[in-house]
């Protein structure tokens, strides 16, 4: 649940990037941080293992300034994608307001995507939250690999596997090239803050 301080007119929104390991969640945040570092004027916190994998989470705070008299602050988090770190994922999901599910487009990651989405549903359910009621954007990452003749899942398959019931907005993206990384982030911020419209009147 977003933290809304009516006295200080401040709103804090938590957005979590979720998805299978090595799917590109951290790369999304790194791209945003590098690209807009001068404008957002904050630091990105990241805790990695020796193998350069996310161990705990990445955290990137952003300020949108005043909108309708409220100071809007956004916190972007990633979770470790590896199966063994479920306790951490669950912890990071606590109080989540919006979600980006970063799916891996590689053919051999089809099952991991489905399992990760199912894991997300389960972890949300433990907080009595329903995935269909939380602002959500899907990102089909690594689309750039098609140029290198690496077999990718067609978007229609990804949509069928992950989005047939959810009907969430989806982007084809390449986090390493920055394609649609900003669009994904803008859309999830938009949907999440807009979902608080009633509370902010």
């Amino acid at each position: 649940m977003a933290f809304i301080n009516l006295k200080k007119k401040e709103v804090q929104v938590k957005i979590v990037y979720y998805g299978p390991g090595r799917g590109g969640k951290t790369t999304n945040l790194e791209y945003i941080f590098k690209k807009f570092q001068d404008r957002i004027k904050t630091d990105m916190v990241t805790i990695k293992t020796q193998g350069d994998r996310t161990l705990f989470f990445d955290f990137l705070p952003l300020g949108l300034g005043q909108i309708k008299g409220y100071n809007i602050k956004i916190q972007l988090y990633t979770v470790p994608g590896q199966v063994k770190y479920n306790a951490t994922r669950k912890l990071v999901l606590m109080g989540v307001d919006g979600l980006v599910f970063v799916a891996d487009s590689l053919v051999e990651r089809k099952q991991q995507n489905i399992e990760s989405l199912s894991n997300l549903r389960e972890n949300l359910a433990s907080y009595k939250k329903d995935i269909s009621e939380i602002p959500l954007v899907l990102q089909y990452n690594k689309r750039d690999l098609a140029k290198n003749d690496i077999p990718l899942l067609p978007v229609s398959v990804l949509q069928e596997d992950l989005n047939s019931k959810l009907n969430a907005q989806a982007f084809e993206a390449s986090a390493v090239e920055g394609k649609n990384v900003t669009e994904t982030m803008k859309q999830i911020i938009f949907l999440t803050v807009a979902s608080l419209e009633r509370e902010l009147k």
Binding site: F36, L64, G65, I67, E133, N167, Q169, G178, N180, A194
Partner: protein, 208 residues
């Protein structure tokens, strides 16, 4: 006379869009061209699946198409239930979908037309950029259209008393089923309308 305060009229959504576009503009002069995304967006609109169900309904009224449409409307209703304006549009679509699914080819021709115009209104509200008063006007006119259609359907059904020459051919069972059908339709539309009226009442309630 003081200048109009356009900011006050603009919605949180449109302000938010503008702010996000200004902070995260990727093609600004300070951007490094080599890291800017270069390819097309291939963006899918969140209402795309509902749009495809609306278009299918316009083309063909079958069990599969109407079932899919009702399912889509219900999914979206669940997703956007916190947004009062969007949920009224979606409730109208859901109600029309259930009506068309039930009566199929016999449903009033105005019902599929109203599905299209209601969906167009939903998209306009969803995409932001409308002021609160524009949203309210759009919503009210859609609700009015829905009420008008409901009244027309009920009135036409009431007028149905068949010509005398044919009346002798209709058995008691057929009369009973027509009567039953009319009652069910009335109850269905009334229930949906009541729900929408409650939403409108809640929306018109002054905020405290």
């Amino acid at each position: 006379m003081p200048p109009l305060d356009t900011d006050r009229d603009s919605t949180l959504r449109s302000e938010l869009r503008k702010r996000l576009d200004s902070i995260f503009q990727e093609d600004g002069p300070n951007e490094q061209k080599e890291t800017a995304p270069v390819e097309n967006k291939n963006e899918m609109h969140p209402l795309d699946s509902l749009k495809s169900a609306v278009l299918s309904l316009d083309w063909e009224i079958s069990d599969e198409v109407t079932g899919k449409f009702v399912e889509q409307a219900e999914n979206f209703l669940r997703r956007y239930k916190a947004d009062k304006v969007l949920s009224v549009f979606l409730q109208i679509l859901y109600a029309l979908g259930k009506y068309i699914r039930r009566y199929k080819g016999r449903s009033h021709p105005g019902s599929t037309k109203l599905v299209s115009t209601t969906f167009d209104g939903l998209v306009k509200v969803f995409d932001g950029g409308l002021s609160e008063s524009e949203k309210r006007n759009l919503l009210n006119s859609t609700v009015d259209e829905f009420m008008k259609l409901k009244k027309t359907i009920i009135d036409e059904k009431k007028k149905v008393p068949l010509p005398e020459v044919r009346e002798v051919e209709i058995s008691e069972i057929s009369k009973k089923s027509i009567h039953q059908l009319l009652m069910e339709l009335g109850v269905l539309m009334e229930a949906e309308f009541e729900k929408i009226r409650d939403e409108i009442r809640a929306l018109n309630k002054p905020q405290t």
